[in-house]
């Protein structure tokens, strides 16, 4: 199978199809549009002290801004470096996080809550499922290039 990412002496070499570039380029907008009321939002900003709502609220007050800023930086990094032939490790890490975040959102929208879902291949699966698989393959490929 074609490798989309490969480690070279210059960094992580990128070989994406035009379709893959288009899909990755659409991820920042997908993530920006996540509604705070949808299940994905809880997964992206999980409870840290499940038995102590007060401590949890204090933790969130402290970290929510940091988390949003970090994710915004990752999305900009992806958008800015999307046409590049080679990525630094830091840029590749930002790609990994944006892809991972998008997968969590898609899986939450598909109602995936148990392991084993990827074995149930269906011919007419929803577009979110195809996207989830494709992003998983790209992330796997990028991780193996980084390791």
């Amino acid at each position: 199978m074609r490798r989309a990412f490969r480690r070279t002496v210059r960094g992580i070499a990128v070989r994406l199809s035009p379709g893959e570039v288009e899909i990755l380029g659409a991820l920042p907008a997908l993530l920006l549009a996540v509604d705070p009321d949808e299940p994905a939002a809880d997964r992206l900003d999980p409870t840290v002290y499940p038995d102590d709502p007060g401590a949890d609220a204090a933790y969130r007050d402290l970290t929510r801004g940091m988390l949003e800023e970090a994710r915004t930086r990752d999305r900009s990094e992806l958008a800015v470096t999307l046409g590049n032939d080679v990525l630094t490790t830091e840029e590749a890490d930002a790609w990994l996080r944006v892809i991972g975040e998008a997968r969590l959102v898609l899986a939450a929208r598909l109602g995936i809550d148990e392991d084993g879902w990827e074995r149930h291949a269906a011919g007419d699966e929803p577009v979110e499922m195809s996207l989830l698989r494709l992003l998983g393959a790209l992330q796997e490929d990028l991780v193996s290039a980084l390791l």
Binding site: R43, L44, D45, P46, T47, V48, Y49, P50, D51, D52, Y59, L62, T63, M66, L67, A70, R71, D93, L96, R97, G100, E101, R103, L104, A107, I112, D113, E114, D115, G116, W117, E118, L132, G136, Q139, E140, V143, S144, L146, L147
Partner: protein
Amino acid sequence: MTITATTAPDRVDVPDTDEVVHTDRPWNVVVWNDPVNLMSYVVYVFRKLFGHSPEHATRLMLQVHHEGRAIVASEPLEKAEMDCHRLHHHGLWATLERT
């Protein structure tokens, strides 16, 4: 994580206790299984954030996968909260509990 079927519990059980709270006692950073993150990605994140060897990171990932959770660090509260934040930034499901 993907591949094998296990279901993660959906909450952390912290025992009720009337003991005096020792704030200087370390806190456990707990990572929970989820059906979406790739096994290889979870290993990569453990290695990157905690400097674990490939073997240790893989063992922890498999523990999360098979047992539903694993303690990835025990450390002072401030550091534990920061590690929790970094895990969330990487899309992993992490909580804190007293040791």
